[in-house]
Symmetry: C2
């Protein structure tokens, strides 16, 4: 039973699984020992061996530099700055951005004692310096207080570097219903309203 309890405890540390659902997941794994538990154990061991942090942008992949940094077809003139690797993946799934990325590894937070030196902000400044092809830095940090503080701090650090600093548009999500939106988003969408073509 010790082996099972340990499995449940480790599974419960995954986001989205509590103690109860970890137990159900463990049971499902044990039931499907050969078809699920062994392949998953092996996939994890292989991933743990293979995955590297890209020393340029901070992305996680099996090569360093990562495929995005190594791809010559991507646009060197724009860097999109995100908090976490998950944000980078989300933007790649949206497939609208053809430039490069920079993963901060978190946000500035006085409360959690996270300062600029704990993030990759220094490396970002290096990537943007004189003689570099970067023309635009897109700040795609989250719309939280810490995310916006971080964006503000980076904007200040980039002053005088000659690059244009932009942020993602805020507004009503596609498919979103006004009635269910929070006030902050609604008022941001109202402030950033756009003229319809031909009006």
């Amino acid at each position: 039973m010790q082996e099972i309890e340990r499995l449940i405890q480790l599974l419960a540390r995954l986001p989205g699984l509590g103690p109860r659902s970890a137990r159900r997941a463990a049971l499902e794994l044990i039931r499907k020992r050969e078809s699920l538990m062994r392949p998953l154990a092996q996939a994890m061991a292989e991933a743990a061996d293979a995955i590297r942090t890209c020393s340029t942008c901070g992305n996680l992949d099996v090569s360093d530099p990562c495929p995005i940094c190594a791809d010559p077809r991507r646009d060197d003139r724009a860097i999109c700055v995100v908090e976490q690797v998950g944000d980078l993946w989300a933007l790649e799934r949206a497939a609208g951005f053809t430039g490069r990325y920079h993963v901060l590894g978190g946000v500035l937070s006085a409360l959690d004692g996270v300062g600029p030196e704990d993030l990759t902000i220094g490396r970002l400044i290096d990537r943007v310096g004189p003689g570099k092809p970067v023309e635009e830095v897109i700040l795609a940090t989250n719309l939280t207080v810490d995310g916006q503080t971080t964006a503000h701090y980076i904007t200040e650090r980039l002053e005088g570097s000659g690059v244009t600093v932009t942020r993602l548009a805020h507004g009503v999500p596609v498919g979103g219903e006004l009635d269910y939106l929070d006030d902050g988003t609604l008022s941001a969408a109202l402030k950033a309203r756009q003229a319809l073509p031909g009006s």
Copy 2:
């Protein structure tokens, strides 16, 4: 990226994780490669090697017979019949039952083509036969149509064997609010109402 996609696909097969939360779980695992992903991979590999199905009751554990079947202090006179191993574990956590168990491995289902020979009903009958110490069989199958059909079938098969067949009480869950209960439970609780002591 292939390693990560494979990891996400396997994680998404766990109950409680969809494609989106599997992606988040994979990211968390990759971030905590040494502290979470490797230990979990190892715990799974070890569990896959160690865990056996008890040939007496159908429980899953590292020994056969399982610790419950092997425990001489447990009461041989009662067998509690459950659908799945998870139900056995839930009853053990409730810690109110000191007898033995029998895991059916599912329920009879005409729709899914599950007949008596697909479950461990034959082995249950063998455990109850003449000369055996069993006096009571508690049917703890779920209160679904299939669960109740299975309970009914087992009751018929046990007729004439001399054992008492009982089922779990149905009623209002402890801490349950009537307002949120389904009608079936409420009417079952009303039918099974009990006199208060001294009334």
